[in-house]
């Protein structure tokens, strides 16, 4: 409803105020929020000059390690973390930062003898222009060695060309649209892609006697990705899509849509909506209208029942079958240690979710690369080191595909169950070595 200058103004205010909100969570966050707010204010005039200087002489960042006198004290390895810490996606940023800090806390904050310095920037929401100017600042002024973070696809897409120009590795810790890794040879993804987790769900449904499915997705790019892949895999396996609905991203009342589904009587409904308000609203309306009593099952990608929101969804989410790469209920020593470290650095207020794992694994991958390079960071050599890298992650084993620089991992089939300490996605089946089918 608002025009874009107003929105920008509002977002600016948002980041200032959330800076205040973070006061109790730690001085670093507060400073991060305020700094980034100041920076984005003056970013506009500075942006033009920065681009031209970077593009006119793309080699300027490179020769720095070569001149003689430097090696005496190499200083810290700098990582620029770009994620939203204010506005509707603030929770995601805090999860990612918590994950990164959890890894650093576990490993004493040092890799290959060099300190790790984290520069945290608030991108405020879906704001490609802000993301771009923050990345410019990090590359040109702060001279970071790695760009990391990226919760939202549009922001990641806006920064990718800068990563190419400056030859900086760009580690995607969440953004899940297939196409991102193709936009720059310096992009590497440790999180997941939506097609990667929706395809196994369709295979599982087809294998387990589900023949007719109604799909309902939010009407934006990730929704279309999820719907497309589910349809493709499910129909290839002989299933039938009864009907498909696309609903607004901020939909207040699901009753009419649910009623349409009820009228069609499918065996199951596949949904992809943003976690939180939308997922909860859908599942509540689903329960209220007695669709589960009719035997209609809910299938979803795991972000709908993600761990941070799951307790608030409560009973409404019971029995929902999802596929995803991480569940807090995953039983492994790595996961236990990760959860402990996460609650230590974040104060134990929220449960770590898949985004925190993305941050944690991203940091672990960066550390492995620094080790391999012996502390001497160079963009091209770093990218070579990322290719084929393997990690024992809290979610299980993962590795980076040398061809696509995208993650290859096990995708689990889970069901929401109630345990004494809350609601969890309990894993009961898995698909190993899943690549992104979207490429």
């Amino acid at each position: 409803m608002l025009d874009s200058p107003t929105m920008t103004a509002i977002k600016l205010w948002g980041s200032v105020f959330s800076g205040f909100g973070a006061l109790g969570l730690g001085m670093s966050l507060l400073l991060g929020g305020l700094l980034s707010a100041c920076e984005s204010k003056r970013a506009e005039p500075a942006a033009g000059t920065a681009t031209t200087s970077a593009s006119a002489s793309p080699s300027t960042p490179e020769p720095e390690p070569k001149p003689g006198p430097a090696p005496a004290a190499p200083g810290p390895v700098k990582i620029g973390l770009i994620a939203p810490f204010s506005g509707p996606f603030a929770g995601a940023g805090k999860q990612i930062e918590g994950g990164v800090r959890a890894w650093l806390d576990q490993h004493g904050g040092k890799v290959a003898g060099r300190e790790i310095e984290l520069l945290v920037k608030d991108v405020t929401g879906v704001a490609p222009d802000v993301a771009k100017s923050l990345a410019q600042g990090l590359i040109v002024r702060d001279k970071v060695d790695f760009l990391a973070g990226f919760v939202l696809t549009p922001n990641a897409l806006a920064v990718a060309p800068l990563a190419t120009e400056a030859k900086k590795p760009m580690v995607i810790m969440n953004a899940a649209t297939s196409v991102i890794t193709t936009k720059s040879p310096y992009v590497v993804r440790v999180s997941f892609t939506l097609p990667q987790v929706s395809a196994p769900l369709a295979s599982w449904a087809a294998k387990n006697g589900i023949k007719s499915v109604y799909t309902l997705v939010s009407d934006y790019a990730p929704g279309a990705d999820a719907e497309g892949q589910f349809k493709k895999t499910f129909e290839a396996a002989g299933g039938k899509i009864v009907d498909s609905l696309r609903v607004p991203v901020q939909n207040p009342d699901f009753a009419p849509y649910i009623q349409r589904i009820k009228d069609k009587k499918p065996q199951a409904v596949f949904i992809f909506v943003p976690a939180g308000a939308q997922g909860t609203a859908f599942l509540k309306a689903f329960q209220e209208r007695g669709l589960s009593k009719q035997g209609i099952r809910v299938l979803a990608t795991g972000d709908v029942t993600e761990d941070q929101e799951l307790d608030a969804m409560g009973d409404a989410a019971l029995g929902v079958v999802t596929t995803h790469h991480y569940s807090a209920a995953h039983d492994s020593p790595e996961n236990t240690a990760f959860k402990q470290a996460f609650s230590k650095v974040t104060g134990g207020k929220v449960r770590a979710n898949f985004m925190a794992v993305g941050g944690y694994d991203g940091m672990a991958a960066i550390a492995q690369v620094i080790e391999k390079l012996g502390g001497q960071i160079d963009g091209d050599r770093a990218m070579e080191a990322f290719k084929g890298l393997q990690l024992q992650s809290p979610r299980g084993p993962i590795r980076i595909d040398p061809e696509t620089r995208d993650v290859i991992q096990t995708v689990y089939v889970r069901k929401v169950e109630q345990r004494p300490d809350g609601f969890y996605n309990v894993e009961f089946d898995h698909f190993d070595e899943q690549k992104d089918p979207g490429k």
Binding site: W13, P252, P256, Y257, D263, A277, M313
Partner: protein, 286 residues
Amino acid sequence: MSFLGVVFDGIAYGSLLFLISVGLSITLGLMNVVNLAHGAFAMFGGYCSVWLTTTWGLPFLWTLPCVCLAGAGVGALAERLLYQRLYRASHLDQVLLTIGLTFMAVAAATFFWGPTQQRVELPDFLRGQVSVLGLDLGAYRSFLIGVVVLISLGLRGLIERTRFGAQLRAAVDNQQVSAGLGIPVQRVFCLAFALGSALAALGGALGIELLGLEPSFALEYLVYFLLVVSVGGAGSVRGTAFAALALGLCDVAGKYYVPQIGAFIIYALMIVLLMLFPAGLQGRRA
């Protein structure tokens, strides 16, 4: 589903919109304050209810009167401290102050409750559906409609039949003359503002089940509240009720019958209605 089912759902949704918007209609139309923090008062009510149920173990229904009182208290306080200074200020000043308040509310809610979704436990008799004459009606939606019908009747009586209502209408029409006649204008405005805030808070609490509750609530739904008030005509309780019901019905019916464009129908309706009635369905002045 039968046509009647769609109508029922539409009325329930419209009732909730009415409950939250009517306070905004009063402040905007009667007192001439552009209160963009109205959504924040509704959100306050929601969090109040969640806090009372989780920390104090109060049943959901018992929190509703408490939420009303708390909303009224906070509304009165805000009016005395902030809003009363703005009655004669330009609309831009009002917008700047109230949108600032909204952002503070969003940050405060994130600070105290975190960015996640909140929920309340409904009593068993308000869950699921009840069958009335072969029609499956949502129990909670029926309850919601009942509450809103009672409140709107009460509200209409209060404004049109009581001494307070008469004083309020007089004070709005001409503050100076009313004050000269001995009407305590300041107190009347303060009470009216508190009343609007109390209704918003109640709407926020009742809306948790339908709309959800998270820190961005204050901004997310503000558009719908403003839409209802502008279509209904600021300052008119009856106009707000008509507009809320019309928008609620069209929204639900549009999404059910033509889901491809369902979400845009209320905006189309708003444009048509505003072209036909530029001052709103029951606008007081052009």
